[in-house]
């Protein structure tokens, strides 16, 4: 039976619920010692002096590393596999830990205490005294901030951050100004944190190679970028890449974190080197708000000009966002503006302000999530101004081809998503005027938004070891962030190899395995499936060659192209009764196993077509205007994500994405003190991930139409599309309920219940 399309339970589910799946922080290696980070108390300046003596004298302490005594590191590369790491538009940090006295943000590691027990290390960490020559920090993004305009997101040629379409900037603005119906507003989104349940953790150990002068560094790490971090760690420690091994078998959520935060693993490896011990580092939840990445705050200008009939003429989308003093990472909000609707005139721009705050990084749908919120809110505002139904308005501007380059879509069925989503929510019940619906004390409203997420493919490789007992192990250095990769990649491999799922084991999470890209950009399924297909083809070819060459095989002298494979057996397509089991072939030729490697890269179809997933998301909300509460009554999302490999994991991913969107719309926000840069929201009691009570029954449907241009099963990734558009659907529904437009996320009670002039008069304290 084909396993693709089956709602298979997670293959690692049982391990996880029984505790059999060991996460990095749980691994108990022999002779472990523990490291604790001492963070800077100031946001900028220089360390004048570190007094580590009291900590060094504390019980159990093995070493206190500071910038004065830490082993030296070599610089990291500016670019890696086509991804810019350093400089504006890059994704990494431009400093390495404990190498210099400079302080760039509050919480930056300024010392690292290693002790026999975790408790001893944690205690000693409180005894390290650091004095600073503080320098006035830059902590708020405002009109006067020094900004740069990075050229490309991650340095990628196809990700221009400053661009116009249909003329130069002046021409585009001219078209906008001349458009009969216009909206133009500023939309702001706050800093958000990935907040995976599992904190970032590393265990590092060095082994001196007996035969070589060099050493081998092994890291157990909560890493979703095995090959990238392997290369970076090798570089900074001056090792051949092969001498670094990173293992990451189970990840308890990442959502964009745990990919480019190599400085904490480096810190742990430094300590392991300096002490000659196996060192474990687990970040505290508070440190997750400082050292594990975040989504930057954005301030977006969104202007749309349209004909009276609803046809969009011009869009101006400006993004102003921030990064840390040591990173040029930028939230690329303009991404979806380029491709979501057909529009002839466009200007997008991105400005970056560097602040003395922790370093941002990608977070689930980087750019798309905040960008689409602004875009789809502005679309809602314009629809109202035009007197058009928001859905009709979107259909009027439907992009039949990729508006960015005129290429056909590989596969696009967005109209079906709109129709079905509208049906699911009951869109026809929606009065066109806002503030017309009530249920008890609640105002009720409906909103919708379009969603999109590019379906990228990156180079990947896989190895298959098919054993004489008829089972197969498939390996790739890819990752399972908790999303179900173990399961769906095994399904892909089973079908590709013509084996029952129970006979296939997928192994991942080890940098010694064949190359795979970082788990990001919703590209794992497409990229790794393609490599599995290649390796499977190779494996089957080897079997066929063995069979046709052997006189005693029923397939002797058959042509390879005439042979099919399924259920662990090769057979003649024209006469399926004639065939032979894989086990028989291998046994007869006296092989314990065969090994096949496969590698896949984006093919020429990537030049001919544009690839994206699409969807439509609808929401119904209830607002209590007096108490400032927003509750979601219903969310329905319908998605065109190509072939669905596993309906169960698919639904979970989309649910999870929508959950992220709910948090973005209503509850999630991180705040730093504007004087000291210290995190004010710094634990999960105050960083409000939506609870079950914030989450309605989420209805998710997928069209399940295979993408003919995608190799293998024709599945596009779906890790991120769930968040895109969801926040806008919700806030558009809030507008429809209340008639009040909130242009700053999240929609907390404090924003919705505003003091009168009299109430805010007395602003002095007693």
């Amino acid at each position: 039976m084909e396993s693709i399309g089956q709602p298979i339970d997670r293959l690692d589910g049982r391990l996880k619920v029984t505790g059999g799946a060991r996460y990095t922080a749980e691994l108990d290696l022999p002779d472990l010692v523990y490291g604790v980070i001492v963070g800077s108390t100031v946001p900028s300046g220089r360390i004048r002096q570190v007094d580590a003596a009291p900590a060094e004298r504390a019980p159990g302490v093995l070493k206190v590393l500071t910038h004065e005594n830490a082993p030296r590191l070599l610089p990291i590369p500016a670019e890696l596999s086509g991804i810019r790491l350093l400089g504006d538009g890059g994704v990494g940090e431009e400093y390495l830990p404990l190498q210099a006295a400079q302080v760039y943000f509050a919480g930056q590691p300024v010392a690292f205490v290693v002790a026999r027990t975790f408790e001893q290390a944690r205690h000693a960490a409180t005894l390290v005294r650091v004095e600073y020559d503080a320098v006035a920090p830059k902590l708020v993004m405002n009109a006067g901030s020094m900004a740069t305009r990075p050229d490309k997101f991650l340095g990628r040629p196809d990700e221009a951050l400053q661009a116009t379409r249909g003329g130069d900037a002046a021409a585009v603005r001219g078209v906008f100004d001349a458009s009969p119906v216009r909206v133009s507003h500023t939309y702001t989104t706050p800093i958000e944190h990935h907040s995976p349940l599992e904190m970032s953790a590393t265990i590092a150990l060095w082994v001196r190679m007996p035969d070589r002068a060099s050493a081998q560094l092994t890291l157990y790490d909560t890493c979703r970028n095995l090959k990238g971090n392997q290369t970076i760690l090798a570089q900074v420690f001056g090792l051949p890449t092969a001498n670094v091994r990173i293992v990451s078998q189970f990840i308890g959520g990442a959502f964009g974190a745990k990919g480019f935060q190599w400085n904490t693993p480096i810190l742990c490896a430094l300590a392991a080197k300096a002490t000659g011990r196996t060192v474990k580092l687990v970040l505290t939840r508070q440190q997750m708000f400082l050292l594990a990445g975040q989504r930057a705050a954005t301030e977006q200008g969104y202007a749309i000009g349209a004909e009276a009939g609803g046809e969009i003429r011009a869009v101006l989308h400006t993004t102003r966002t921030h990064s840390s003093a040591i990173s040029g990472y930028i939230e690329p909000c303009g991404r979806t503006t380029k491709i979501l609707y057909s529009l002839p005139h466009l200007e997008i721009s991105h400005e970056l302000v560097r602040l003395n705050l922790p370093t941002p990084c990608p977070m689930r749908a980087p750019g798309e999530a905040p960008g689409t919120w602004a875009q789809e809110t502005a679309m809602d505002e314009l629809a109202e101004k035009l007197g058009m139904d928001p859905l009709t308005f979107r259909l009027r501007n439907y992009a039949d081809v990729d508006p960015e380059n005129g290429k056909p879509w590989s596969s696009k069925h967005l109209k079906e998503c709109y129709t079905r989503g509208a049906e699911l929510i009951g869109w026809d019940r929606r009065p066109s005027q806002p503030r017309r619906m009530r249920e008890g004390q609640y105002l009720v409203g409906y909103g919708m938004a379009t969603t999109i997420y590019p379906a990228g493919q990156r180079g990947a490789a896989a190895r298959i070891i098919l054993s004489a007992d008829g089972s197969a192990v498939v390996r790739s250095a890819t990752h399972d962030q908790g999303n179900g990769a173990y399961t769906i990649l095994a399904q892909v491999a089973a079908d590709a190899l013509g084996l029952p799922l129970a006979r296939v084991r997928f192994e991942l999470g080890d940098s010694d395995f064949p190359q795979a890209p970082p788990a990001g950009g919703s590209a794992t399924t497409v990229s790794v499936s393609a490599a599995i297909e290649q390796a499977s083809t190779q494996a089957k070819r080897q079997l066929m060659e063995l069979a046709v060459a052997e006189v005693s095989s029923p397939l002797y002298s058959a042509k390879l192209k005439d042979i099919g494979a399924s259920n662990g057996r090769l057979f003649l397509r024209s006469d399926p009764g004639r065939g032979e089991e894989y086990t028989a072939i291998l046994r007869r030729t006296q092989r314990k196993h065969i090994t096949a490697d496969g590698e896949a890269k984006p093919g020429p179809e990537r030049e001919a077509f544009s690839f994206s997933s699409f969807g439509a998301v609808f929401a119904k909300v209830r607002v209590d205007p007096e108490l400032g509460t927003v509750r979601i009554a219903q969310v329905a999302g319908v998605y065109d994500v190509g072939r669905v490999i596993n309906p169960k994991t698919t639904r979970s991913q989309l649910h999870g994405g929508i959950g992220f969107g709910i948090g973005m719309a209503l509850t999630e926000e991180t705040i730093y003190d504007s004087r000291t840069g210290r995190a004010v929201i710094r634990d999960l009691a105050d960083y409000h991930i939506p609870s079950m009570a914030d989450t309605p029954l989420i209805t998710v449907e997928t069209l399940d139409i295979a993408d003919p241009q995608i190799p293998g099963p024709g599945a596009r990734g779906l890790g991120e599309i769930g968040i895109v558009g969801t926040a806008a659907a919700i806030t558009n529904a809030v507008y429809h309920a209340t008639g009040i437009r909130y242009r700053s996320l999240p929609l907390t009670p404090a924003k919705m219940v505003v003091p009168t002039a009299a109430e805010s008069r007395n602003t002095a304290t007693t």
């Binding site: 108390t41 209830r622 939506p690 109430e759």
Partner: protein, 351 residues
Amino acid sequence: MHPFRYDRALTVQEALQSIRNGKNTAFLAGGTSQIDLMKEDVHRPDALVDIKRVPLAGILLLPDGVLRLGANASNNDVAYHPLVQKQYPGLAEAILAGASPQIRNMASMGGNLLQRTRCPYFRDTAMACNKREPGTGCSALEGINRVHAVLGASEKCIATHPSDMCVALAVLDALVQVQKPGGGRRTIRFRDFHRLPGNEPQKDSALEPGELITSVDLPAFAGRSHYLKVRERASYAFALVSVAVALEMEGDTIKTARVALGSVAHKPWLVEDAGKRLQGKKPDVALFRAVADDAFKDAKPLEHNGYKIPLGKNTLVRALMETSGLMPLQGPAGTAFASSAGGVAGDEAVA
């Protein structure tokens, strides 16, 4: 984290002996507040006296009709107790609107009373805080003060008391029974238990070092009680503002009324005039509105907490409407559904 000694007491006597004068020692009950603060190096006791096994977990109806809630009774045991559900639904609503089921199972009555503020600067040892280190200054005054007090604050401290349960206990006129370390007992009226920050913000309550709470006593009460909480997510979040009401009706007029506000001050804030203004009146929106306006007439907003004034007023009006029957409760009395403003997500919620 500061190293500490751990002692386990099995009796009140042992607890009082081990705690001595309470200097640099602290009781440990459920630990949900204490351990958190120790991990963050905010509390640095040299010794902990674990009182979890001291037999103070009983919930007893005394002959005079007083309901005695043992200091070690878990928050959930109290909330789900049949007598609490029946006679003090507002208390159950307050408790069940707080924290999570897991935390409420661990959390004790005594610990809930003595939980510390959620002021973020109090928890960050790199920031000045008069409550944590007297004399260092108050970082919240000019900082992020969204969750801070609009009533009764001082220049030394603008923190709020975060407990839900305590707001309900304030309108129920509870009594806190205390055992002194040197022997002897005393009773503290609930309204006097927590204090305003004044010049000594390090002191949250009237409890002296080393004193052990043995129970919280609820006088018999035949009226209605109700709690209403507004928060930033539908469950598992501290209150932005909350209101507790205890109301006795005589026919369709109000006989007695007590109203308290939560998360607006350093202590549960009894609206002193509410009783007088409501007594003998028929429930009425305009009247409730006037009481609400009055309750906040001395409110002093800071940079980020101005919303608490209109939100507090609206919540107060709504809580009075719901308690007096002018509006239906949003869920069954004695449950979190009754006390959670906005209700929960999903379509069924508006049944």
